[in-house]
Point group: C2
Chain length 293, copies 2
């Protein structure tokens, strides 16, 4: 995998980490960054994330790969503006969005309407991140061994799919593929539900008094770590995927209600069985994760 000009649109933590990883691994000759705000474009240059950066879309002209790195809600708009620019023939367009169904469908439709033979889109979700946000926390090793799910659709060009696979795996990802709808169900459970649970757990654990954290072992802080992430970005993700999240969230409420009932009845056997089931299921899960790495 060797690109002449890799363009990254609206980088935050993920987009800037793509830039650093691509540079470190010698994948791209030049990295061009577009940012909505000129100060952010300047920051990309200062942080040595970009070789060229601008708030003018012409900075991406001639790119042979483009990564849409904005929050998911802004991606279709970015794709539309990108499709007004001249790109290198066969340009690969991919993204970092953590919800795929409706967004991928909108971008596919934009590509179909633009009727351009020189650009092909493949939806991607590199499952890496941090509770920190912003280019300044970017990390060239962020994608090392992290899962990246490609979500090809009926509109996806097979050659572009192979190139997207080569691009993300060159950045260090373990590649997987599934339809966008399946993806959204999977991440709704394994990623978005733990996020909601972590956020909901903070206040009841502190009972209105954050100084209770003086008595915390590791449990409270580990269990709520992901709730330290940027609120607006996550609100957008959760809302975009709400159809897939509602069911698992109801299941979680049922599980907690069941535990409450066992506690109120003083049913130690059932509490122990519940905890043992969770422990054993989590151990199986850890085994699957270790085997995949």
């Amino acid at each position: 995998m060797r690109l002449n000009r890799l363009a990254i649109l609206a980088p935050g933590l993920l987009g800037a980490s793509v830039a650093l990883a691509a540079k470190r691994r010698g994948i791209a000759g030049q990295i061009a960054v577009w940012a909505r705000n000129p100060d952010r474009a300047q920051q990309a240059l200062c942080l040595e994330i970009a070789d060229v950066a601008s708030a003018d879309f012409s900075v991406i002209d001639g790119a042979d790969a483009v990564v849409l790195a904005s929050p998911v809600g802004a991606m279709p708009d970015l794709a539309a503006r990108m499709l007004e620019r001249p790109l290198a023939p066969g340009c690969l367009v991919t993204d970092v969005g953590s919800v795929k169904g409706a967004v991928v469908a909108r971008i596919d439709a934009l590509f179909a309407a633009a009727n351009r033979s020189d650009a092909r889109f493949v939806g991607a979700h590199p499952m890496a991140g941090s509770e920190k946000k912003g280019m300044e926390h970017a990390n060239a090793d962020l994608f090392e061994k992290s899962a990246c799910i490609l979500t090809p659709s009926a509109a996806t060009d097979p050659q572009a799919l192979a190139e997207a696979e080569a691009f993300w795996s060159a950045l260090g990802c373990r590649m997987m593929q599934m339809p966008a709808e399946i993806h959204d169900g999977v991440v709704g459970r394994i990623s978005h539900l733990p996020h909601l649970a972590a956020a909901a757990l903070v206040a009841p654990s502190l009972g209105g008094d954050p100084s209770l954290a003086r008595y915390a072992g590791g449990g409270f802080f580990d269990s709520t770590r992901v709730a330290g992430g940027p609120a607006e970005m996550w609100a957008e993700i959760l809302l975009e995927n709400r159809a897939e999240i509602a069911g698992p969230l109801q299941e979680l409420v049922r599980e907690l209600s069941e535990l409450l009932e066992f506690l109120e009845k003083g049913d130690e056997k059932r509490i122990a069985a519940f905890l043992e089931k969770a422990r054993s299921l989590r151990e199986d899960a850890a085994g699957f994760r270790a085997a995949a790495r």
Copy 2:
């Protein structure tokens, strides 16, 4: 703090870590371990946790400090058997139990009934641990900077309280004091609730398929880490403290139900406000924790 003979009753991870920490820090001349099972006593010798070990209670005779290290449910029975043995004058008895109210009251009553001038009890909860169990996972640094809450009662001898403070802080703990009932409310929130939440989160995050963990970032595994702990021990703790846990658990269910409602209404502003409140409260909590260390 210098003891001639430190006895540890029924050590698991915590009790054995007390032994290793006491040895490392030169606090105890000899460490005597009593275990219910002779094989466990032998194991304590092989692992160099004890200098002498036995399933016969006489092994603790002459101790000038005793640590009750069994699960909380077994502690009053251990205390009663200990009070049948000859101890060194002024022997300090303390424990590692993570629920205190009823257990401390029962042990105080046993001491009062035994009417012994040579032994004084001070309830303690060293807030350290691991999701691993057993002497084989003991660690001499386990208590380093971890909080240890002493729960003196009206029956507590002030001199013994000072000695308990000296003992646990010599092992590395940051010392705190509060009545047993306050303690149980605090740990019900900051420790037991996250444990329940972690256990309840496992199944809905996996949707019956542990192989979904192949797609997990760090969130699922961090959020559920404490659910990897020993089920029976935790069932006993949760049941013992159920009066304090029920309220916070109901609060958690309400928080999750609120999030579900916002999602179903598509109310992005309120979801963002909810997440931001959690993020900011957790940040305050992390500040209190850092300041306490």
